[in-house]
């Protein structure tokens, strides 16, 4: 992979990480009064997939949406303002962390009902194919979401009509604090998708280049009329299911496991890899860090200084 793309991938991951860290750091201020599911540790999947998408391609997301939103180019200020419940938020404050949208960049929407957006993505791909557009729709969801029957209904229809949709399953082995082997039999997720007649592949979700390569192939296939694609990426959730902190005290996962998980940091790992090609990587990263720090600062200032909506604002736009 060329240095340009590598740095792009790296910067995008780093940016997501720093944004999540900043949100976590300020959550205690209680200005962001809504449930918040951070994606620290899982950045490579959002970045590696979205890097292959056109601005006109569409994505749908779930409760853990920040990374997807930012990787697709979603407006950072509108996102932070949304968490602050302000009128300038991407949902005008109506949604919070679990409801993000930025139609300018094809981010169609994230919602917290698990599985809720998966058929919507298939529907978007359906309408693209009905109108002969070469547009691809991607939907991100977790390993727990795969247990919802609606997924299979959506996969069946997508396969039946050979729709340009890419299902991306972020397998972090947990649904909240419940392990996959307490919810699913011992079989692999992507093979179930394959059995529906969908091209399915799995890969290491902490290796952004691997994600990028697998996704680029799948997205090309979808775009070129080869029907739906399914990607399963293994990854690890560093923080508590919902909220800004680590959750070691809950003791549902061992210290050893946590250390192993953190040692597979997609960002740290990739920085080492880049060092091989790019000698001046440290300078590069320092620049990125300061640019990003500045951007984040501004986003928080924008958010906290934005107009506060009122009860009146809640009483409109029920019907189009």
């Amino acid at each position: 992979m060329n240095a340009f793309t590598s740095t792009k991938l790296f910067r995008s991951m780093l940016r997501i990480r720093r944004v999540e860290e900043a949100l976590a750091a300020r959550y205690a201020e209680q200005e962001m009064r809504c449930p918040m599911h951070l994606c620290i540790g899982q950045e490579a999947i959002a970045v590696g997939v979205c890097e292959n998408l056109e601005k006109t391609d569409l994505i749908f997301s779930n409760h853990r949406a920040h990374g997807h939103y930012l990787a697709k180019g979603g407006d950072l200020q509108a996102m932070v303002a949304e968490l602050y419940g302000r009128s300038t938020g991407c949902c005008g404050g109506r949604g919070g962390s679990m409801h993000l949208i930025d139609l300018n960049v094809g981010f169609m929407g994230a919602t917290p009902i698990v599985g809720g957006t998966v058929p919507l993505a298939v529907g978007a791909a359906w309408s693209a194919s009905l109108r002969g557009r070469k547009q691809v729709t991607v939907v991100f969801f977790g390993d727990g979401c795969f247990e919802e029957g609606v997924l299979h209904e959506a996969m069946n229809f997508a396969a039946l009509h050979k729709l340009p949709v890419v299902f991306v399953c972020e397998n972090n082995d947990f649904s909240v604090y419940t392990r996959r082997n307490d919810r699913q039999p011992n079989r692999s997720i992507y093979k179930v998708a394959a059995s529906h007649g969908i091209e399915a592949v799995s890969g290491n979700g902490n290796d952004v280049e691997e994600v990028m390569n697998i996704a680029s192939q799948a997205i090309d296939n979808a775009r070129n009329g080869n029907g739906p694609q399914f990607l399963e990426f293994e990854t690890y959730r560093w923080l508590e299911h919902c909220g800004p902190n680590f959750d070691d005290e809950l003791n549902y996962r061992s210290v050893v496991e946590m250390e192993l998980g953190l040692s597979n940091c997609p960002i740290k790992g990739y920085k080492l890899k880049m060092a091989e090609k790019i000698p001046e990587v440290d300078v590069l990263v320092q620049n990125f860090e300061s640019e990003i720090r500045k951007e984040i600062e501004e986003a928080f200032i924008f958010a906290s200084s934005s107009k506060q909506p009122s009860l009146q604002d809640a009483m409109s736009k029920l019907y189009a």
């Binding site: 749908f60 809720g116 009905l130 039946l160 029920l318």
Partner: protein
Amino acid sequence: MPDKKLRKLSYAAAIREAIDQSMEADANVIVIGEGVPDPKTIFGTTAGLYQKYGKSRVFDMPLSENGLTGICIGAALTGMRPIMVHQRIDFALLSMDQLVNNAAKWHYMFDGKASVPMVVRMIIGRGWGQGPQHSQSLHAMFAQVPGLKVVMPTTAHDAKGMMISAIEDNNPVIFIEHRWLHNVVDHVPEDYYRTPIGKARLLHEGNAVTVAAFSYMAMEALEAARALSAKMGITIDVLDMRSARPLDVGSVIYSVQKTGHLIVADTAFQSGGISGELICQVTEKAFKSLKSAPVRITLPDFPVPTSHFMTNGFYPDPRTIVETIIDILNVDRKTDGYLELCSALLPRGNHDTPSRDFVGPF
């Protein structure tokens, strides 16, 4: 042209024509449902559409009610105007999550940045042993959801006009058809016209009592009204509510201010239905106008059994309505008029079939 003979059409054919004209008018309108292109064409309501518009606009669908509802929402979010069909409203229970959590809320929760222009047709079954799982009237379940619109036209004329309005509407509209209305025939103009959503229609005018009725019960109420005025000279207002959300409470209050008596007739169970909601709103807003306690005419609070022996009397009919009115007004029953009324309203044909020629199965 007043001299031109008025064109008559069945309710089913009217729906078909509305969809056909809408598909002609807007290339983004598509239709999908189990059996839509099959030989039975959803009781004739989708006849010829597949032949005319082809496989890229008219679709059969897998038995995946929840998934396909979400898929239609996704299509609606990206420029299509899907019409989805459930042969029985009972099947739509599988899609409550998508309808309530997504379709109803998407426009609101995303601050109006996107909308879900889709129509979901649901058919209420009745008779010929439809039984507990194929004869529910679930409109109140949808009508209680902010963000949804729920319409249930009664005449062929309104079926066409409201279908066109529903398809043009930028919100999710639940379009409810009572199976026994598909054969109703009345004047349906050839042209492309709209009937407003959320407005009741006065089917019969009078001053003794107000009967606000939903769907098929409006037909029963109309028959009751005609018999009452013909045989006993009692005249009543019959309002065909036509929509369950928005609910046209204003028209009902307007009538109640004249009559002082309110009866609400619905095809659903008694408890928790739209009939209770309407009575509550009228009572809240026009308490002083009520001379007597409002009354509900509905099904009893039991699932509908299959045996026709057990459903004989299960469904209220014109006679039920008439007797309720006579009680409210406490009119003397010892009159020739009353006797004539009773014989005029004797049940015709089998109580469990929409028409005499019906020989089952559904």
